[in-house]
């Protein structure tokens, strides 16, 4: 088959644009990682230089690992992010399935109600949420954070997923019913695998804000045992003195898990897109 010929000039320009964009996007990340391996003086003297034998130092990482319970923070962040994502995807998908699959009175109204949260920032309710958490004794637990993030992530998840679920062939679900599958099995075994790209999209959308959030950990769970990574890293930023080595090292290490999660989800994303295209 003859492939479409691209004008080499256009191709080069397109690549140039993409390369420039990549550099711009990666530059800050790269600076953080480079400087995390340098001594404090070297960071300020020449922030753009690569670490050499003279300026190379792991002092930042040592500080991070020694001071405070870095792995504990790390674990907290991980539990909160993964837990919230799990519940967002599970409940979001279930609600979306009900909205898209079943005819019942007030279906549209329910859909609107569930999507309303997209327009209202959850931080407006911080005080009430804090009062609620105090009343239920959930302050300074990871459960509090997971609950809040699940609630804030659900509206957009339901909105996106119900659109996708409407596109799943009705015949397929009916075939399952005729074969005697329960509604739960139809949901988990037939529908969920088919909306996997949408699930991945929702996961990526929700993951990064949750991982990076400072607000709710600071308010709801600022005890030493429940600190998340973002909150934990704040100890190195002072009003007068900031331990840049430690901050940069902490940030470098915080990037890793998000990147791993992102790679997992984006693979699903691409697989979903291509399988749809070939069909």
């Amino acid at each position: 088959m003859q492939r479409v010929k691209h004008n080499p000039l256009n191709l080069a320009l397109a690549h140039l644009a993409l390369i420039i964009y990549t550099i711009i996007a990666l530059f800050p990340v790269l600076i953080i990682i480079i400087n995390s391996f340098k001594t404090r003086k070297a960071i300020f003297r020449d922030p753009l230089a690569l670490p050499n034998s003279e300026t190379f130092s792991l002092i930042g990482y040592e500080t991070v690992l020694k001071q405070g319970d870095y792995f504990g923070y790390f674990q907290n962040s991980f539990i909160v992010t993964v837990g919230s994502l799990f519940f967002i995807l599970l409940f979001g998908a279930m609600a979306a399935f009900a909205l898209s699959e079943y005819r019942f009175k007030g279906n549209t109204l329910m859909g609107l109600y569930l999507a309303l949260g997209i327009m209202i920032p959850i931080r407006l309710g911080t005080v009430a949420i804090l009062q609620f958490m105090v009343a239920t004794g959930l302050v300074n637990t990871l459960t509090a954070l997971i609950l809040v993030y699940t609630a804030s992530g659900l509206p957009i998840a339901i909105f996106i997923l119900s659109e996708f679920m409407r596109q799943v062939s009705a015949d397929l679900k009916d075939a399952g019913r005729i074969d005697g599958l329960s509604e739960y099995r139809i949901f988990f075994q037939l529908v969920l695998p088919l909306v996997r790209p949408a699930l991945a999209t929702v996961a990526v959308f929700n993951m990064i804000p949750i991982w990076n959030d400072l607000w709710f950990p600071l308010i709801l769970a600022n005890s030493e045992e429940t600190k998340t990574l973002t909150l934990g890293s704040q100890v190195f930023i002072g009003q007068f003195v900031t331990d840049w080595n430690a901050v940069l090292s902490g940030l470098s290490m915080a990037i890793l898990p998000v990147m791993i999660l992102y790679i997992i989800f984006s693979k699903q994303l691409i697989r979903g897109i291509t399988s749809g295209a070939v069909k």
Binding site: S169, D171, A175, G176, R177, I178, D179, G180, S275
Partner: protein, 332 residues
């Protein structure tokens, strides 16, 4: 005792009534086809028989048992869908065996049933493939195989051929007819294509706007339609309808109908028209005429030629004229 009976079945969605008092019975082993334009309620009726939709009122009986409150899997039916609806993540074999597995059949019987169906449909080499690795025709055969494996009392087909290309459609049509002969199971089949209905059915149910217009064998419907809708829907090209005043007719006759194949053209006759277009199909020639402000189709056998714009006269036997009153009812 028929193997399927519908008694006063009504269905409404909210305030919209889509099926009105449907009564019909299918004999054991009968091939029954629901046909009608889109939106006539034929698919809804099939879904009510399958149990995928509840009737608002009325009874559905399968093999003598009232099944109104049984879920689809307990009704002894199998259904083939327009979009095949194969489980994308399962192999052909697992697609076919899932229903039996859910019903708790033992492994040996499942194996035997799948093998029987696969042999019948020549699916043997594909059992371990996934639906995505099959062609459209093969997928449709798997969907049919999945239905056969369940050994149902009643097969339901929901427009099974409309996603296939023309050549494959003819082949699959013949295969389905052959399958019906071999299995001898009752089939209820929904289509909007009257050719499918004519070629496959023992009896056809013509539906329009949620009403049964007529039930009968294909030739009964063709030769003896009850009303203008059935007369116009069955037969291709469709019957021509003309104002009754063109002929000397009793006062109650409002419209007359003439089948395109019942007309020949000559230089004399009661009705004349202008040739507007010709279609040469080899075996037949379709001549389109302007008569009384309407386009009229004449189907002539063999290859014939007329000059476009010339005036010709229609010739037909008096008993080839169908007469309808002002409500479209046939006057016999």
């Amino acid at each position: 005792m028929g193997s399927l009976a519908l008694k006063n079945v009504c269905k409404s969605f909210g305030n919209v009534e889509v099926l009105h008092n449907i009564n019909l019975e299918a004999e054991e082993g009968e091939f029954m086809i629901f046909v009608g334009p889109s939106g006539c309620g034929k698919s809804t009726l099939l879904r009510i028989i399958a149990g995928l939709e509840d009737a608002t009122s009325g009874d559905v009986e399968i093999a003598g048992d009232r099944v109104n409150h049984l879920p689809p899997s307990k009704r002894g039916i199998a259904m083939v869908f327009q979009t095949y609806a194969l489980y994308p993540h399962l192999t052909v074999k697992k697609n076919m065996s899932l229903g039996l597995k859910q019903a708790g059949e033992d492994a040996a019987r499942i194996e035997e049933q799948v093998k029987k169906a696969a042999d019948m449909l020549e699916l043997g080499p594909y059992l371990d493939r996934r639906p995505a690795e099959l062609s459209g025709g093969q997928r449709q055969r798997v969907a049919i195989g999945r239905a056969i494996v369940r050994d149902p009392k009643l097969f339901l087909f929901d427009e099974p051929l409309s996603n296939l290309d023309a050549a494959l459609r003819v082949n699959t049509r013949i295969e389905i007819a052959d399958l019906h002969r071999r299995l001898g199971t009752t089939i209820v089949y929904v289509t909007h294509d009257q050719v499918e209905a004519m070629t496959l059915a023992d009896r056809i149910v013509v539906l329009q706007d949620g009403y049964v217009e007529q039930i009968g064998a294909p030739m009964e419907l063709y030769n003896d339609p009850d009303n203008m809708f059935v007369a116009g829907f069955i037969g291709s090209p469709a019957m021509n309808f003309l104002d009754a005043r063109l002929l000397d007719m009793p006062a109650e006759v409002a419209t007359i109908g003439l089948r395109p194949e019942a007309i020949s053209l000559g230089s004399e006759g009661p009705i004349s028209g202008k040739v507007s277009h010709l279609e040469h199909l080899g075996a037949d020639t379709n001549v389109y005429l302007h008569v009384d402000g309407k386009l009229l189709t004449v189907r002539l056998f063999g290859q014939q030629d007329f000059e476009v714009g010339s005036t010709v006269h229609l010739q037909f036997a008096p008993d080839a004229v169908y007469r309808f009153d002002k409500d479209g009812k046939r006057i016999r």
